[in-house]
């Protein structure tokens, strides 16, 4: 498990333990990864984050089209051996998305149950948002490197 925000680690570890999820991504609605578990290649994380955020954006638009103002709580794709759970939740840091891949050792019901707890725990644990700093060109690359190191270890 790799996390960009340390306060996400404990709720995520509990979620992984209880749900038996194989892969998990927590990201912003723009697709920026906050935490990941199970992915070994950064390119896979980036693809999954972009695709997951895209799917949820699409379903949000579909909800608006069919006049479902609250939107859809979750999107589930069930395959033969694995399923994917996608769901957004509000945090003090904005709208975040969880993408969970689960196998036959888990179920949609278990992921739904423990994902709701994960979202509630993240909402409760989120510290107040720090003031936005200007990102200077010389600091941008360093910050990006730090973020990637946090998510994937040493490069």
């Amino acid at each position: 498990m790799r996390v960009l925000e340390p306060w996400v680690a404990e709720p995520l570890a509990e979620f992984l333990r209880e749900s038996s999820a194989r892969l998990t991504l927590v990201m912003t609605s723009a697709g920026q990864v906050i935490a990941q578990h199970g992915f070994t290649r950064s390119v896979d994380v980036m693809s999954a984050a972009a695709l997951g955020a895209g799917i949820l954006a699409t379903t949000d638009e579909l909800a608006r089209t069919i006049d479902e103002p609250a939107g859809f709580g979750a999107v589930v794709h069930q395959g033969e051996r694995q399923g994917v759970w996608l769901s957004a939740f509000d945090t003090p840091r904005g709208r975040w998305i969880g993408l969970v891949v689960f196998g036959q050792e888990s179920s949609i019901g278990l992921v739904r149950l423990f994902f709701a707890r994960l979202a509630a725990q993240i909402q409760a644990a989120a510290p107040p948002l720090a003031p936005v700093r200007d990102v200077l060109a010389e600091g941008f690359e360093r910050e990006l490197d730090n973020s990637l190191r946090s998510l994937f270890g040493s490069r």
Binding site: S106, S107, I108, G109, L110, R112, L113
Partner: protein, 117 residues
């Protein structure tokens, strides 16, 4: 059995003294297929956990070479959960208080599971 008959059966189970709710659960995905329950019972949570329980029981009986499980009976300090296998992957699940008519509940659920099959 039709959905209406399922609901009638679930209502009868819920009518047993001490029963808080009865559900038909898909063990494969842990979701509620049909339910009749009191408001305070978190049926979706019960379905997810009951499905996880019966799937583990199935692994256990398989390892024992005892075939597929037919019932799972779990008793806590204050309540009990009774699960009876229906047509795969469905299970009939009831949650009851400990002071309820658990014997009658068991018999009734076994009858319904036979009809469901």
């Amino acid at each position: 059995m039709t959905i209406d008959q399922w609901h009638a059966a679930l209502r009868e189970v819920t009518g047993v003294t001490g029963v808080l709710g009865a559900l038909i659960v898909s063990a494969e995905d842990g979701l509620v297929v049909a339910e009749t329950a009191m408001e305070e019972l978190a049926t979706a949570d019960v379905a997810a956990l009951a499905a996880a329980l019966v799937m583990r029981v199935a692994r256990c009986t398989s390892a024992m070479d005892a075939g597929l499980p037919q019932t799972a009976y779990l008793v806590g300090d204050r309540g009990a959960l009774l699960a009876v296998a229906g047509p795969a992957p469905l299970w009939l699940v009831a949650v009851a208080r400990n002071d309820g008519e658990l014997g009658r509940l068991r018999l009734l659920m076994r009858d319904f599971a036979d009809v469901l099959r």
